[in-house]
């Protein structure tokens, strides 16, 4: 998902025997559904895992502005330009809500950004794909934000209070993101043949990467069990992926577009769609830095940060100067 592979620092769930008294009391609180707040005692692994998860999530929001920002100056109408500007501004806001949630755990904003810029921290694999046509903006809203919502709605009930509250705000704002994308594509499929073909091409390129957003298959996801026990993950990767597929396939049919998967079929008995094999080599390639745009995205983030350094320093110097003057007066 927006945080696809969060290391919990352990291979599995820590059982009753090894856990300390404090850890057992902590787990009991979580089991009871009492939220954990910044000053409460928490196991160091819980804290570290959450910092990793929340910062990955924040980085994804921030890097996620790049593929869409690419089209702001080329939006086909003023209406679409306003919508896209508002959406990209929201992503910046979501990144900030999340960074501030991570800071309640004692992380410093600077350290989190350093980790992103020097490649130690991850962000969602989906943002390493290029936005080649205007239809991609529709596909991102519909599919990428759709997948994000699928993941984020359950996180509104996660065990860590500040993270859960940030998710509530994000989810409230996110539903327009998905709807504007679908509406954009709806307009295109009702347009000229070229426009319809462009919409189909966007779906062809974004479908599989969107499914990969949910992370590795459950069998390969070693940290899921611990994260679920801590309630910082509420459903497994495959559960969420399946829900997304079941919800999205009929939406594609409504658009008159076809899903780029020859093995896709409806299973009458289970009431679910079944898909072909996901190309996990592609997934791991993108995760490990070798997707189509990994280098470009990181370079853009670094440049933006470095180009802004003088502004940050000047603002600080200005504030210090004014404080000194006030003190002297």
């Amino acid at each position: 998902m927006y945080s696809q592979f969060v290391d919990t620092g352990s291979d599995g769930q820590k059982g009753g025997q090894d856990a300390s008294e404090q850890e057992r009391a902590f787990q009991a609180r979580i089991d009871e559904g009492i939220s954990i707040e910044p000053k409460d005692w928490m196991p160091e692994k819980y804290r570290k895992t959450l910092v990793r998860q929340i910062s990955q999530h924040a980085h994804s929001e921030i890097v996620g502005m790049l593929p869409e920002g690419n089209w702001i100056t080329r939006a086909p109408s003023l209406r679409r330009k306003l919508i896209l500007l508002a959406k990209v501004q929201d992503e910046a806001g979501h990144g900030l809500y999340l960074y501030s949630a991570a800071e309640t755990l004692g992380a410093s904003r600077d350290d989190l950004l350093d980790a992103l810029h020097d490649g130690r921290a991850k962000y969602s694999s989906i943002f390493n794909y290029p936005t080649l046509t205007w239809a991609d903006i529709g596909a991102i809203g519909w599919l990428v934000d759709g997948a994000a919502i699928m993941n984020q709605v359950p996180l509104c009930r996660c065990s860590y209070g500040p993270y859960a509250r940030a998710m509530v705000r994000v989810c409230k704002e996110e539903s327009f993101h998905q709807r504007q994308g679908y509406e954009l594509l709806l307009e295109m499929v009702n347009g000229t043949e070229e426009q319809k073909a462009m919409a189909q091409d966007a779906l062809n390129r974004w479908w599989w990467p969107s499914l990969m957003m949910f992370g590795p298959a459950d069998g390969d996801s070693v940290h899921t069990q611990q994260s679920m026990a801590w309630k910082i993950k509420r459903h497994t990767n495959d559960e969420l992926r399946q829900r997304f597929i079941d919800q999205t396939v009929p939406q594609a049919h409504y658009l008159g577009l076809s899903i780029p998967d020859p093995d896709l079929r409806w299973n009458e008995e289970t009431g679910h769609y079944e898909i072909g094999e996901i190309d996990w080599d592609e997934f791991w390639n993108v995760v490990n830095g070798n997707g189509p745009c990994n280098r470009e995205r990181l370079a853009a983030r670094r440049t933006a940060y470095e180009d802004g350094a003088w502004v940050r320093e000047a603002a600080r110097a200005h504030a210090e100067k004014r404080q000194k003057r006030r003190a002297a007066a």
Partner: protein, 94 residues
């Protein structure tokens, strides 16, 4: 020393006449910038009628360990709640 700008807590009062409510935090070098950033980050949907920003270091909060001392005493005072009192059901408007 961290290069981070100081942290501020943000409180927003909505239009519906409720109290200011904590919504999150932001970084800013001074109060004016804190106000501007709070407005940009936390009121993009018409949420606010008023904003408070407070330097995070100025907030004094109770410690989780003091929870018992602070809040237990109110737990056994059921007579502070209206449901403690028996009023016959045919007495109206009470």
């Amino acid at each position: 020393m961290s290069k981070d700008w100081p942290l501020w807590e943000v409180f927003i009062r909505s239009k519906h006449g409720l109290s200011h409510k904590h919504v999150g935090s932001i970084h800013a070098t001074d109060a004016e910038m804190a106000m501007n950033n709070a407005r940009d980050v936390y009121t993009r949907r018409n949420e606010g009628a008023s904003i408070w920003v407070v330097p995070s270091v100025q907030i004094v909060s109770s410690a989780p360990g003091d929870k018992g001392m602070l809040f237990d005493p109110s737990e056994d005072k059921v007579y502070r709640h209206p449901t403690f009192y028996d009023v016959p059901s045919d007495v109206e408007n009470m």
